[in-house]
């Protein structure tokens, strides 16, 4: 009856969100008076989950699962749920997890609520708060099915250490060829650079930059901050930047600690998509730009003057605080 949490890893290393979802699962388990079991696939350092409230880790070591495969991963999680008799499953909001969670939900006839931003408001009835209308609102959603799946919104609950320890058990799911009927042929992924999904800081730029040739300073600013780069919808539609960088209502949502918008006026769709970021900074020549109403800090000024100054100042700051 333990709460089951899927702790995601990449190349054997837990993702940051693994500790956040583990912490969330612990909060749910405390409400239900039970413990937390994690399912981890080809991860090392499984015992590190103990500090975040996991009592037991089901450790899957399987070469066929080295590359993410939604169906096979979903089936693995489903089998762990069956073994543990779990009725509550906690997952993240990563792209891979949003791929597999509906498959688990379909298989287990489970109610699945993604984009959850806080610990359950109650467990009888089971009630969670989530974002809706692309961050223009929140919904309080009741889950009435026997098995419940909660998708925790990135960077909403945080990781909380409680000094516990975890035991690790091997778990071997039974998988067949049918589980691998969609095959990964090639992965094209930027390495060594923060992604919009995981980054603490996102530096984003819009049409105010006038052309793709001017992105050098945006990338430099992102480098100094260890940030991911993003862009507004018009910039992606014009082909100045790849689609994967488009943030907003029809692009990627951003839930970073710091979001810096440069030369972005702040259309309602863009503001909705970035509203979950904790601190927002806007740099824009137009003091009437709607982004100033949504930001915490702002500089009215020309990006071509302000950004190079900001890069220099941050380099100085990093040198002093290193």
């Amino acid at each position: 009856m333990s709460v089951l949490v899927y702790t995601e890893s990449e190349n054997g290393k837990f993702k940051k969100n693994a500790f956040e979802v583990a912490s969330y699962a612990k909060a749910v388990a405390d409400q239900l008076g039970t413990s937390v079991t994690a399912i981890s696939i080809n991860a090392s350092e499984n015992d590190s989950l103990g500090a975040y409230g996991v009592s037991k880790v089901l450790n899957v070591s399987n070469d066929n699962l080295k590359t993410f495969n939604a169906k096979a991963f979903a089936n693995t999680i489903g089998q762990a749920v069956a073994q543990e008799n779990s009725t509550t499953i906690v997952v993240s909001s990563s792209t891979d997890t949003k791929f597999l969670a509906p498959l688990v939900a379909g298989k287990l006839q489970a109610g699945y609520v993604p984009n959850v931003v806080a610990a359950p408001e109650g467990t009888s009835p089971f009630m969670v708060k989530r974002t809706a209308f692309s961050n223009k609102g929140f919904a309080h959603t009741e889950i009435s099915s026997d098995i419940k799946i909660i998708g925790v919104s990135n960077n909403s609950f945080g990781a909380h250490e409680n000094g516990g320890t975890a035991t690790v058990e091997d778990f071997s799911p039974s998988l067949s060829d049918a589980d691998f009927s969609t095959k990964s042929i090639e992965v094209d992924k930027v390495v060594g650079k923060a992604t919009i999904a995981d980054a603490d800081i996102v530096v984003s730029a819009g049409r105010g930059l006038k052309g793709p040739e001017n992105w050098g300073m945006i990338e430099e600013l992102a480098d100094v901050l260890g940030a991911a780069t993003a862009c507004s919808k018009p910039v992606s539609d014009l082909g100045w930047r790849p689609h994967g960088e488009h943030v907003g209502q029809t692009g990627k949502p951003v839930a970073s600690n710091l979001y810096i918008a440069i030369g972005i006026s702040g259309a309602i769709q863009h503001l909705a998509g970035v509203s979950s970021s904790k601190t927002k900074v806007v740099i824009n020549t137009d003091p009437e730009a709607p982004f100033f109403k949504a930001a915490d800090y702002g500089i009215v000024g020309d990006a071509f003057e302000v950004v190079p100054q900001l890069i220099e100042k941050l380099k100085e700051f990093k040198a002093q605080n290193a």
């Binding site: 169906k71 949003k98 993604p114 209308f133 223009k136 601190t279 915490d296």
Partner: protein, 246 residues
Amino acid sequence: MKILVCISNVPDTTSKINFTDGDTKFDPNGVQFVINPNDEFGLTRAMWFKEKQGATVHVANVGGPSTEPTIRKALAIGADEAIRVNAEPTDGFFVAQQLAEVVKNGEYDLVIAGRESIDYNGGMVPGILATLLDMNFVNTCISLEVDGSNATAMREIDGGKEKISTNLPLVIGGQKGLVEESDLRIPNMRGIMMARKKALNVVEPVDAVKATQDTKFEKPAAKGAVKLVDNVNDLVNLLHNEAKAI
């Protein structure tokens, strides 16, 4: 190839969102409804399959009679036929069960749905649908080619993309990239006239499990005023000492 495009009827992206009935319902007053953008990219890709590979394209929607203008728009863009399951789309699990019935009855080879609807953001309909029908599934799909029963898809991943090989029957959760924004079609007068004559079949829902229910909505808390600074030194200091963001 027989394609079903699942479309959701959603508030236009520029809409301001309000709630009514003691914040228990979305308030549609003054809201313009459109085809969910993620679905529209898929519908436009389906038109390509129709024109280049002779595919038949049907659209399906789960909704009340008020969604018909949106369905007619999909017909005006070029879909051959439409099906409306006459039920309020209460949650993603319910919608997926209704669509599963439509897919079974229509014997579709390819089902294209949006990665998520921009209203309730459940993002679960295509995946649950694939599971209920035991079809292959690719989510966050940004390109799709079909050759016989083989399909090659590209999907967006965090920080990049992944090429995937699979087979029909297939469900995809689509998004921008399937086609470009500039490929989207505005229905012309001829399309609109023809859409009036195309079949829009209304079917009653099947019994289905309801797994979740939205009981109350709220809007985000009002934002405090922006703190304007006139130099980068002050900005860095505030970000470090006040916001603790760097």
